[in-house]
Structures are given as structure tokens and as C-alpha cells.
């Protein structure tokens, strides 16, 4: 295909070129070389950026995960010992389980709530106002979100327990941030509160691009509101749902700031996720090799889930 295109392109160029140009081009071999090299030159900066800031650190982290290194003495090669130790490390197992909670919790809650609120807002006369209010948390940093929700969930001084006591539901008060796995679920609520705005906006965009014809046709056929939503709106929202679920999936794997500001992964490392464990092992315990092995596991799992998810979606579309 490419070999066919080249002569045709050259011929066209020859026909259109003024007299004398052919001689000039022949006398400038470097000009043709430069033209051939131009595309590569355009992408070189990005290749360098990716190489320096992604590929090299990735390869180095991979190497680091095969070593024992405290940041002071030169790393010692220990093979796969770090990876073998992971499977018997109760902190890693807890962090893995918490990561599953986060992925499932954020993906389900944020997607479901985001969709429900988007549908409500789509027909609300106050949609613009609510959109702004609901989007506000997304404009706040994760650390600030953590501080806000810490003040809500604090056992003794928190707004939540105080409110429960105030309305006579003192029996329902909990140690929200110090009882595992309740502390993880509490933080998931905080994360969902922050991430809900962008999810709603994405779903609203999706809802507003759905053509009216199929909805009106369904209504004419006697479908009620739920049936219209379930059998018309929801299928037509699938492309945007795929994006929303994908983004929420990845974000929940990466979550760090909210956990670090609310519990620092504690108490006794009970609310760590893999990202927090990676940080703590590397930069608090200074077991850089071990931390790198957690980073590798987290990356491989995240990448695998993302690729599996995308492939599954594409295969489904091809079947359709």
C-alpha cells in the first residue's frame, strides 16, 4: 500500500512542479532526506519526554524491585525475594483487599450516583445551579477533601457523630476512621463526593447527545419512564458509560491523597491501599526495593484491568 502511494505522489509532484524544479531537487539530496526525516523529528520531543519520564523510570523501578535498598548504601540484587515476600505480608494482603474495596466502591457508587443525578438534572429547571454546586468538590484538592471529611468523621469531635447524638441516634455513632474496614468505606464516601461532579457532567453530555426520535418512539409505543430509561436511554449512553467506568476504575486504583490526609493508612496500616503501601514502604520505611515491587504489582494489575476492560468492550461492540 505504501509502495503504491509513493510513485503516485512523486508523479503528481512532478507534474505540478515548475520547470527546473526536478533538477533542483536532484541536486539537493539532503532536502529529500530532510523531508523523509521530518515526521520523526516531529515526534522526537514526545519520544524523549516519554523515554525520560516514563520508560526510564519504569525500567529503573523494575530493576529496583529486584533489589534491597535503603536509599543510602548501593542497592543489593536479591532476585525475586521482594515479590515472594509480598504474598506472606499481611499489610500487602490488607492493602490488596482495600484496593478491591476502593475499585468496587468508587466504580459502582460514583457511576450509579452520577448517572442517577445526571438523569434527574437533565430535566430539572435548576440544572445549571445544581451542576455548579455538585462540581465544586472536584475543584478542591484531594488533600483538602481529606481534611474536610476528617472533620466530619472524627470519632469524638466529628460532625457526623455529633449529629447522630443530637437527633437521638447516639447508638449509631461509630469510630468511622479507626475501625477497619469501616474506615476504608468512610473514605470511599469522601472520594465519591469529590468525583461525583465530573461523572455527572460526562453523563449529562451523553444524555444531551441522545437523539429524541427513539425516545419519542418508545413513548408512543406506551413505554413508561423507567422502560424508556432502561431500554432506550441506558443503551444509548453506553459509549459515555464506558469512558466513565474506565476513568473511575483507574482513579480508584491510584487513590492516595484522601487516604493519606484522613488516616495515613492507619490505624495500624489497616486502611492502606496498594498505592499507600508503596509510598509507605518506600518513603517512610525506606525499603525502596520492596516499595518498588508493590509499585510493579499495582502497575501490572491496573494495566491488565484497563486492557482487559477495553478489549472486552471492543469485542462486545464487534459482536453487535
Amino acid at each position: 500500500m505504501a509502495s503504491d502511494a509513493k510513485p503516485r505522489k512523486a508523479k503528481a509532484g512532478k507534474a505540478a512542479a515548475p520547470e527546473g524544479t526536478e533538477v533542483a531537487e536532484a541536486s539537493r539530496p539532503f532536502g529529500r532526506l530532510a523531508a523523509a526525516a521530518a515526521p520523526y523529528l516531529y515526534v522526537t520531543p514526545m519520544v524523549l519526554l516519554v523515554g525520560v519520564f516514563l520508560l526510564y523510570p519504569a525500567a529503573d523501578t523494575m530493576w529496583l524491585s529486584l533489589t534491597k535498598w535503603n536509599g543510602i548504601y548501593p542497592p543489593t540484587f536479591i532476585g525475586f525475594d521482594n515479590y515472594l515476600n509480598l504474598w506472606t505480608d499481611p499489610v500487602f494482603i490488607t492493602a490488596s483487599l482495600n484496593t478491591v474495596y476502593w475499585v468496587a466502591g468508587v466504580m459502582l457508587l460514583q457511576t450509579a450516583l452520577g448517572l442517577a443525578l445526571a438523569v434527574l438534572l437533565n430535566t430539572s429547571p435548576l440544572a445549571e445551579l445544581y451542576k455548579r454546586i455538585l462540581y465544586l468538590p472536584a475543584a478542591i484538592s484531594g488533600a483538602a477533601i481529606g481534611v474536610i471529611w476528617y472533620a466530619i468523621f472524627n470519632n469524638q469531635f466529628g460532625i457526623l457523630n455529633a449529629s447522630l447524638r443530637f437527633v437521638g441516634l447516639g447508638a449509631l455513632t461509630q469510630a468511622w476512621l479507626t475501625t477497619p474496614p469501616l474506615n476504608t468505606f468512610s473514605m470511599i464516601v469522601a472520594a465519591v463526593w469529590q468525583g461525583l461532579g465530573p461523572t455527572i457532567i460526562l453523563f449529562l453530555v451523553g444524555l444531551q447527545t441522545i437523539p429524541r426520535d427513539p425516545i419519542e418512539a418508545a413513548q408512543t409505543d406506551g413505554a413508561n419512564a423507567w422502560q424508556v430509561f432502561r431500554y432506550v436511554t441506558l443503551p444509548l449512553l453506553r459509549p459515555i458509560t464506558v469512558v466513565v467506568v474506565g476513568i473511575n476504575l483507574i482513579n480508584s486504583f491510584k487513590v492516595f491523597d484522601i487516604i493519606w490526609t484522613m488516616t495515613q493508612g492507619g490505624p495500624y496500616r489497616s486502611s492502606e491501599t496498594l498505592a499507600v503501601t508503596m509510598f509507605r514502604d518506600s518513603f517512610v520505611s525506606f525499603e525502596f526495593g520492596y516499595g518498588a515491587s508493590v509499585a510493579m504489582v499495582l502497575t501490572v494489575v491496573t494495566f491488565a484491568v484497563a486492557v482487559f476492560y477495553i478489549r472486552a468492550i471492543f469485542q462486545r461492540l464487534e459482536v453487535q
Binding site: F53, L54, P57, A58, D60, T61, L64, N70, G71, I72, Y73, A151, N154, N155, Q156, F157, A175, L177, T178, R238, P239, I240, V242, V243, G246, I247, L249, I250, N251, F253, K254, Q264, G266, P267, Y268, R269, A275, M278, F279, S282, F283, V284, S285, F286, F288, G291, A292, A295, L298, T299, T302, F303, A306, V307, Y309, I310, I313, F314, L317
Partner: protein, 431 residues
């Protein structure tokens, strides 16, 4: 057309998802350090004590006025990032000229790696002004590697107004202490402040009760010559657990020692909590909250819980270190020499209101003056704080286990076994 739209959306989504997998690689990028050293006129001083900025600036200016170099600050808000920066740059010429650090095992690491300059000559010159025990904290294999940036004996700070209200006196023995605890509790005041916020405070009462019951065992335990499962340690933990169950501590999951709505300071200043075991460096924090030292709050040395044992007090001191590979090593040693001098310490203590480490420079706080007098009169041996006294890998495991005990006080043995398991693995690599 619809398929095309879907595919486009999916491709965009796929790209976003793949892009989202990238950040874990930031692990590598995070290991790089802070700024680069400046010119010889200003020495680069790195630290993780951002709230001390004004004090460092005043001391640097005083250093320059005295004919030494000034200090240019390079601050890190996060201790972990700071430690990583020094660890990874300490062997290169990019290390700052001066940097703050921790004594004990954390210091041994950088000394063994050759990151700290020998400043024994400065101590020799000032030997009459500093306690030998303090110098020992920074001495390894006969050489001394840092100057005391702060000196903080650990004391029990108490709300004087609450004590006066219930006609209580600072306890001198364990019976007195039990009377204070019971009285305060019966009056609806939480006797002692405790928290797990920030993780490190979880070790406070472990070291307090072990030193109060068996200081020799504490010393041996720190050096790996005793086990966490030894009966003496179990006894100290049981005492701690009994007092937790008696309701003598604040909810460790609710209060913090910092600022904010849930800070212990509010409880303390408003008389809802009466005492706190902590380093004397916390006094300026209480003073900033509006309480006057010696008037609104006082301090005493935590009494021994058993009779016939050596009087002991936990001390904490962190060094200011000259980088062995720093670009202006000679200037930095001169500046540190001035910092240790009487003039340097007078300026530093005036700025910080810390407990003075020099015998010929008075501590501004009446609490510290009384404390130092009591230490001398009682023949107290100075014992290094848990954080610095034992290998940090053990500390990291232990503070999480202690936090578990604070939240769920019961049989301490499973907790002690977990710590000992870590200690065994750590000591096996050291001995």
C-alpha cells in the same frame, strides 16, 4: 455512524484509561532531592521544620553578624520526602552544607555512610558547657557528628488551674500519681492526653511505662539485648492497658497534638484534659495557645511506678549536621561552631524559647528551669527517646502495634510477639 461514534468514544476512553496507569512510575521521580547548594556566602541549610523558619532566619542572620556565614533555607514540608532527599543526595556534592537530622539509629545510618562531617573539635572546645550524655547521642566510634539543634527532656505537662481546683499537687511517687489520676477521673476530667494521629505518638506511653517500671530493661530492649516478650515488658504493657481501661486517656483516635478543631490543646487549655507526657519542646506550642508557662501550666517528671529503681528521664535531641560532602564544608563547620558557642545558643534559645542544652545559657521557661534543677537534684539518668534509641525498622512496626493496643487494650502478648518478630529480623541483619 453510531458505531463510528462509539468507537471514537471508546478510543478516547481507552487512551484516558491507559494514561491513567502511568502515575505509579512517579515513585522513581519522587526520590530526587530539593534545591542545589548556593554560593559560599550563604550556607544551604535543609530541614523539615517549616514552622521553625523564622528562628532559622534569625539565627542565620546572627551567624552572619558574628562573622560566620549566613544560612539559606531549603525547607521540606514532608518529613518522609526530606529524609529521602538527604538519603539519596548525601553521598554527592549536591547535598546541602548543613541539615537537621535525628539522633540514635537514624544518625548512625548517615554516619556509617560517610554523610556527616566529624565535628569532635567543636565539642572539645565547648566540653564544659554541654552534658557528656548529650554528646554521646551524637558520638559514634569515638567521633562526634553533629551539634544539638534542640534538647527536649520528656516531662508531664499539667494544667495548673485544674490541679489547683481539685487541690492536687504534682505527684512525687506512684501513689501520688494514682491519687491524681483517680481524682481527675472522678471529677470528669480526662487525666492524660494520648493520640495515634501522625502515628509516632503511639510509642509515648510504652516508653513512659517501661522506663517507669524497668529502665534497665528499656535500655537493653533498645539495644536488642532483651525481648519485647520479656516479663518486664509485658508488665509495663499491662499497667498501660489497665490505665487505658480505667478511662485515664483521651480517645486516641479523636485528638491530635497539632492544630485544628480536634487538637488536644483545646481540651487541655479548657480544662477537659489535665496532663500530657511529651517533650519540653511542646511548651511553646501551649504558650502560643494562650497559656502562660509556670502560671497556667506546669511540668513534672513522670514518677517511677516501682520503688527502688534508678531515676530516669527520657530525653530527645536532634542534631544539626555538617555534610561531609558539602560544597562549603569548612564554612559550615565554622558556622556550626558559632551555633554551639554561648553567643550562638543565647540567640537560638531567645528565638525558640527551647530548653537550653548549654549549662551557661538559661532556659527562658520557668518549667524548664525547675525541670533541669530536678534532674540534677534527683540524679536522673538520661535515656534516649524510643524513636531514636532503637533501629527505625523496629520503630515503624512497633508504633502501629502500639496504636492497635491503644485502640483495643487487652492481652499485649500478640502485639509484643509481632514487634519481636520484626526485631528478630532486624537485629539479625545488624549483629
Amino acid at each position: 455512524m453510531e458505531t463510528l461514534t462509539r468507537r471514537t468514544a471508546l478510543k478516547l476512553g481507552g487512551a484516558a484509561i491507559i494514561a491513567g496507569t502511568l502515575p505509579p512510575w512517579l515513585l522513581e521521580a519522587c526520590t530526587s532531592g530539593g534545591g542545589t547548594p548556593s554560593g559560599a556566602s550563604a550556607l544551604q541549610l535543609s530541614n523539615d521544620k517549616v514552622t521553625w523558619k523564622a528562628w532559622f532566619e534569625q539565627e542565620g542572620a546572627a551567624s552572619k553578624s558574628a562573622g560566620s556565614s549566613s544560612w539559606k533555607l531549603n525547607e521540606y514540608a514532608d518529613t518522609s520526602t526530606y529524609q529521602a532527599a538527604i538519603r539519596t543526595s548525601g553521598g554527592s556534592s549536591k547535598v546541602p552544607d548543613l541539615y537537621t537530622w535525628w539522633s540514635g539509629w537514624l544518625m548512625k545510618e548517615i554516619v556509617d555512610a560517610g554523610y556527616a562531617a566529624d565535628v569532635s573539635s567543636l565539642w572539645d572546645k565547648e566540653s564544659s558547657a554541654y552534658d557528656k550524655g548529650l554528646r554521646d547521642l551524637f558520638t559514634f566510634n569515638g567521633k562526634t557528628y553533629g551539634a544539638p539543634l534542640y534538647f527536649g527532656p520528656w516531662i508531664t505537662l499539667y494544667n495548673k488551674q485544674v490541679f489547683d481546683k481539685y487541690q492536687l499537687q504534682p505527684p512525687k511517687n506512684w501513689n501520688d500519681m494514682q491519687h491524681v489520676l483517680q481524682t481527675l477521673k472522678s471529677k470528669g476530667v480526662t487525666p492524660l492526653g494520648a493520640t495515634i494521629d501522625g502515628r509516632w505518638p503511639a510509642f509515648i506511653y510504652f516508653e513512659t511505662f517501661l522506663v517507669a517500671t524497668n529502665p534497665d530493661l528499656y535500655t537493653k530492649l533498645m539495644a536488642g539485648k532483651a525481648k519485647y516478650t520479656d516479663p518486664g515488658v509485658v508488665e509495663a504493657m499491662n499497667l498501660w492497658g489497665q490505665l487505658i481501661n480505667a478511662g485515664y486517656f483521651t480517645d486516641p483516635s479523636s485528638v491530635t497534638f497539632g492544630t485544628g478543631s480536634s487538637t488536644f490543646l483545646t481540651e487541655f487549655s479548657q480544662g477537659r484534659a489535665a496532663m500530657l507526657q511529651i517533650g519540653s519542646w511542646y511548651e511553646p506550642t501551649i504558650t502560643e495557645a494562650g497559656m502562660k508557662p509556670g502560671v497556667d501550666f506546669g511540668g513534672f517528671i513522670f514518677p517511677n511506678a516501682k520503688s527502688g529503681i534508678q531515676n530516669s528521664i527520657i530525653i530527645e535531641s536532634g542534631p544539626l549536621v555538617v555534610a561531609a560532602n558539602g560544597p562549603h564544608k569548612s564554612d559550615a563547620i565554622n558556622s556550626l561552631g558559632w551555633f554551639m558557642s554561648k553567643a550562638g545558643q543565647e540567640a537560638w534559645i531567645k528565638a525558640t524559647a527551647f530548653t537550653s542544652a548549654r549549662s551557661d545559657v538559661a532556659s527562658p521557661s520557668p518549667i524548664d528551669q525547675q525541670l533541669l534543677a530536678d534532674m540534677k537534684a534527683g540524679g536522673y539518668q538520661q535515656i534516649n527517646r524510643y524513636w531514636e534509641a532503637t533501629p527505625h525498622d523496629i520503630v515503624e512496626t512497633a508504633i502501629d502495634e502500639f496504636a492497635k493496643f491503644m485502640l483495643h487494650p487487652g492481652d499485649p502478648m500478640p502485639i509484643l510477639q509481632n514487634i519481636q518478630k520484626k526485631a528478630d529480623s532486624v537485629w539479625a541483619t545488624i549483629k
